[in-house]
Symmetry: C2
Subunit: 563 residues, 2 copies
Amino acid sequence: MINTAKVLYEFVAEPGNNELSVNEGEIVTITNQSIGGGWVEAQNSRGEVGLVPEDYIIHSQSGGGSVPPLDLSFFDSHASTATSSTTHQKTNGSDPWAAFTTDASGGFSNNWAAQPQGTETGRTSTHEAWSSSVQSHPQAYQGPGADDDEWDDEWDDGKSTGGYTEEGGEGGGLNRGAASMKISLNKFPGFSKSGPDLYLLSKQGPKGKEKLPIYRGEVGPVWLYPEGQLDCVVADPKKGSKLYGLKSYIEYQVTPNVSVFHISAAFGPTLKRLSLPAADLLGRFEEEFIKMRMERLQGWMTRMCRHPVISSSDVFQLFHSYKDEKDWKTGKRKAEKDETVGVMVFSVIEPEETLPDLDLLEVEQKCEQFSRFTKAMDDGVKDLLNVGQEHWKRCTGPLPKEYQRIGKAFQNLSSVFNSSGYEGEATLTDALTAAGKTYEDIAQMVAEQPKKDLHFLMETNNEYKGLLGCFPETIGVHKAAIEKVKEGDKLVAASKITAPEKITMTKRASTMSYALQAEMNHFHSNRIYDYNRVMQLYLEEQIKFYETIAEKLRHAHGQFTTM
Amino acid sequence: MINTAKVLYEFVAEPGNNELSVNEGEIVTITNQSIGGGWVEAQNSRGEVGLVPEDYIIHSQSGGGSVPPLDLSFFDSHASTATSSTTHQKTNGSDPWAAFTTDASGGFSNNWAAQPQGTETGRTSTHEAWSSSVQSHPQAYQGPGADDDEWDDEWDDGKSTGGYTEEGGEGGGLNRGAASMKISLNKFPGFSKSGPDLYLLSKQGPKGKEKLPIYRGEVGPVWLYPEGQLDCVVADPKKGSKLYGLKSYIEYQVTPNVSVFHISAAFGPTLKRLSLPAADLLGRFEEEFIKMRMERLQGWMTRMCRHPVISSSDVFQLFHSYKDEKDWKTGKRKAEKDETVGVMVFSVIEPEETLPDLDLLEVEQKCEQFSRFTKAMDDGVKDLLNVGQEHWKRCTGPLPKEYQRIGKAFQNLSSVFNSSGYEGEATLTDALTAAGKTYEDIAQMVAEQPKKDLHFLMETNNEYKGLLGCFPETIGVHKAAIEKVKEGDKLVAASKITAPEKITMTKRASTMSYALQAEMNHFHSNRIYDYNRVMQLYLEEQIKFYETIAEKLRHAHGQFTTM
């Protein structure tokens, strides 16, 4: 299978840095998909080989069509820290931070929009480019809407795509219930379409909906965490295709755990298959790629499962609990009728009595604080990603080449010495050869190391970049609500709202603020755990790496002698 | 003191490699002399900063004059493995290997001359350039002749330059005898001026000269090593100047040891001062530079002291033993009258009776073997030097910068986290800051490491490059002798020589071959020791380096927690 790709955007190589300049529309051959760190190795028609950002190319489709092949933004954009599971929106390709600066009433966000896009070295990194140059990078932050055309039909009619395939052959007993289902997990109307008015001025709360309580925890307002926690295991990827092979996808088996609070244990462990659009034509790199996608899906599913609000949403629970097609369809129809979507999610949020209503100033201060923090963290995370991407490139490119050259030079000298004809040469030449081979080993270790440590650091930060990308919109809605409340007196004077409605609006802004605070506290708590964990893992692997090198060198050292 | 330098040769920077392109005649400011590995950091008039090969620039003289500033070839070219201390010659700037291919009767050396000069990466390294492009690099392999103009007057008249300075203030007792002397250690006529005929056809041996015996050792013909060995310590560099400050130099104190075989112990330890032309205007890097020169001088003096033939030469012994000006002048005049210089040194060499005369075929085979080996080793050594130079640049340039960026990114994220306002943040932020500082430490360690290990590996190989550079001429004389003996019958037939003279010629070629074999065995024995030693040192330091990093990371790791 020829592994070709089309270049989406011009990329100018930094000279001497193992990169390859490519032009928009150019067809290149992918020579190594497993570079990692956001790079692939490609060859152009002139036979030149070098690294290209993987986001700048799109894999050619064997059938002539094309799908976004790596689609790295998929999980990023799905990961949500919004105040509920129903706060996603189609961002239609616009940078969430940029969108926010447009929507929000100005002031604080100016220097935000003016944020330089390049890295320290003057290069524009791919990640930065995503969030800064929407016109020329249409897939940037496409978010949940990106694959809508493909997934809408799955949602509406599972049968048309070979969904719900019975896979009874996979195993006996409980596994009989395994079903294949395609799902877009982010079909929720967003905040910005409606704005906060719908909620702030709504006449009555939702009927018969379970409330989402916020109580006062040690760190401030927090969500109520369910006693049992949803969880699931993503595994066993399988390739499928539709439209007579024109489009292909990978199905992943998702196994929910049984001890789920909201779901009857009677269902037992069921196997579902969650499919994602496949990156086709990856040849020998496919396996690695699918593994990475699976890891990301696992990470995202786990994060969603552990989010107290998202995991309690009807549709999410349905996905976990359905056992057959009928279940799924029924549940889906019910979920589609849910009115507490968009900003109306706040109508089911209920701060406990110990939490007094906040005045507008407090609401505003909290909002500003979260805004500053999430923006600063977004910058910090992107900075680390840029640094990591550069480091990855060095570790897989020039550095191992250099160690290899050192190794070769030692071995070369050894073979020259071996030709001296002088007696008693063997000890030195054996030792020199061993030292040379050790440096070749080190070269290989250096090249393979990023996948063992930097990979996870990058993945975590990529996930957080995605999470942080949801905040501008969330904060934007809060800011809009604050502005609305500020106009309260004027609106009352103009008889657009009544005085009691103005009071309700203020109270509801307070509820929104509590929801945001609870969400931030959830975010902080997860963040502290996640960064501790990933840093431990990173440093553990780094320690092993350096210790192994030292050990190898000690072995080589022992062979030299100056008796 | 402004640290400026004039560019001698155009240098085209490899882009993205931290190098600076410079043009011939351009004046640059040296911003960092202590990069090492053959590089200095310079700034051009447009303010651009980058690395330039130190051999491509010449430091400006404050007084308007100029001296070859780093003069790295000095010791290289002085280090000799020729068959005696009197085999040096002015090569007048020509590549010794190239000279050899011209002098020697062709055939084997063709592919030698066609040897590519660039490195694997297509760059022309400075060392390669030295030996390949004599026209554009007039100082290349200038050898002993380079400083003749400066040092001849010292040799002829010490008083004119402040030589023989009494430095009684330095210490009492034995140190009273300390004297300052300037010496060029390579004022010997070379082989190629005379060719081998002088020796092959000389009528009689030298009168009253002590013979240099060669005996059969375990590894073949070997020199007789003196019971006591000359040795000396080079220390205490002092700056001096002459010509009203226009030219400056560094004087080094050379202290010979007392247990010298040929030198009466009655002299006791005397202190001499050996001066070398100074690289002026080095500013804050001067100290480091002088230290490096001193190390090289020490290495070279030790090597000469341990060479059984060189250390027994009159002039070398004189330098070690003289205690005052009168001694020196007397000895010098005697040495100047020595007739056993150039090829005539073979006339004092005497293979012991156990060593039978070699026939011409054996002589030729040995010569070919040494020629192949020394050429191959010269290539191997230069390859290692090129690799080392590239590695040095990476270790002192891009790599620590990257570790610094990683460290900064961690610390940056830590300070963002610190601003969260969330309780229980301190443990993570402290740990992240510590991890960040650890990577900054690692950056510094990486940048400083080459001076601790690669430096010595490079120095040893540089020394061997110098030693190997003497072989083409030596082998050339042997090849010429072989050709001469081959013509023997023809010469007898033409009555140019007598039949007994022809027999003498063959016997003398055999003596020359024994001398070369003894010298090669001396070279091999030293080489095996030197490379074992330097590899041990290199690997020891590398082990320490990696272990220290692992230890630092372990410390940082311990601060993270996922309770």
